[in-house]
Symmetry: C2
């Protein structure tokens, strides 16, 4: 199948070199609506193990909430200054309910026989029964989606900064996540770098290829 | 700073809609060298918490090793058919050694005063001392890099399939990772979809926006 016109490797690398963990955003420069929609959609379209999509994404728009989250983020300036702030949450524990939800989604799009649904349940049974281990698994899926977003934002020319230095239980409280079945994993600030961000001109620190890649 | 020319939101979305978890690759169609270099570089340039890059990437080229890994991957056809197979490994436990390695990297690129290095060590001390918890953290960083790769491959028009259904300890044995300080997390097969891959024409199953996104 002929796909969409690919971009050149050089253009991709320029975008990935251009991006960095933006420290200071320009609060006065919003992300255009079409780019913002595409960034959200990059999360929704991200792949996940078994296709379970064990995540929810909260877009934080309330200024009061931003202030409360800033206090739960070591006062990192991005939480208040970035035009957009997303909180990426994971399913706290994958259950058979999640498998049924996925099967129902599939049934809404195409015919799924009872036998096919039964095979689906059986295929996921041992995973779902692993219970507690699914929490870390779900967190990894959220990070995969975050990686898709990081690359998507870069090629769109939008700055992004993943924020791991947050207090997830405090985020959960501020966002009222108790009882929802979802928990905060990581946040990400998005917008455009401020003119004076000192981090923008720092060299990117990456180990050389020989220390990252091996062949076998 | 004016960045590289961004791609349009529509073009990004076309690429993300086009991609899918490729089941059958065309073994006879290699990835051009420039695209392959860019895909590897997308991993090397991926962001990571504290900039620690707690990963190593193994490119599996030996046919004998491919066969051994196939047996450790439920015989999923991608492991033998995809022109490229990467194994993404995490640092098994982050130590003060990793912090020193990062400081040495920084010192190779710019002047770092002893005071600055000391602040760096102090800032990471409590994280490093958390010991065992760093293994799951490192796995999440690997997934973030995997997400960057998924998006990078898509915009380059290269097919990719993350492979979670593998036996990591068996991979570690086959790849000789014991004692290296790195452990298998996930694999990814890359190349181009075979003409007959039934998965290529299946509808993408994604929960609707209203079930993924909330505003607060």
């Amino acid at each position: 199948m002929a796909g969409p016109e690919p971009i050149t490797p050089g253009r991709l690398l320029s975008a990935l070199q251009w991006r960095y963990a933006t420290q200071r955003f320009d609060p006065s420069r919003p992300i255009p609506a079409a780019a913002w929609s595409a960034i959200l959609e990059s999360l929704r379209l991200a792949p996940s193990g078994f296709g379970l999509q064990p995540w929810r994404i909260v877009s934080v728009e309330s200024p009061a909430l931003r202030r409360a989250l800033s206090a739960a983020s070591w006062n990192q300036p991005q939480v208040l200054e970035a035009p957009r702030l997303l909180v990426l949450c994971r399913r706290d524990r994958v259950e058979s309910l999640d498998v049924e939800r996925l099967i129902a989604l599939a049934r809404g799009q195409r015919a799924i026989s009872d036998e096919e649904a039964a095979r689906w349940r059986a295929g996921l049974a041992s995973f779902v029964e692993s219970g507690a281990a699914t929490d870390q698994w779900a967190a990894r899926q959220v990070y995969l989606a975050l990686g898709v977003l990081v690359a998507a934002a870069a090629v769109l020319g939008v700055d992004a900064c993943p924020l791991e230095g947050i207090d997830p239980p405090a985020y959960d409280r501020e966002l009222g996540l108790a009882g929802t079945g979802y928990q905060t994993v990581v946040a990400v600030a998005l917008g455009y770098r401020a003119a004076g961000d000192p981090a923008a001109t720092a060299d990117k620190l990456r180990f050389p290829e020989a220390e990252v890649f091996t062949r076998a």
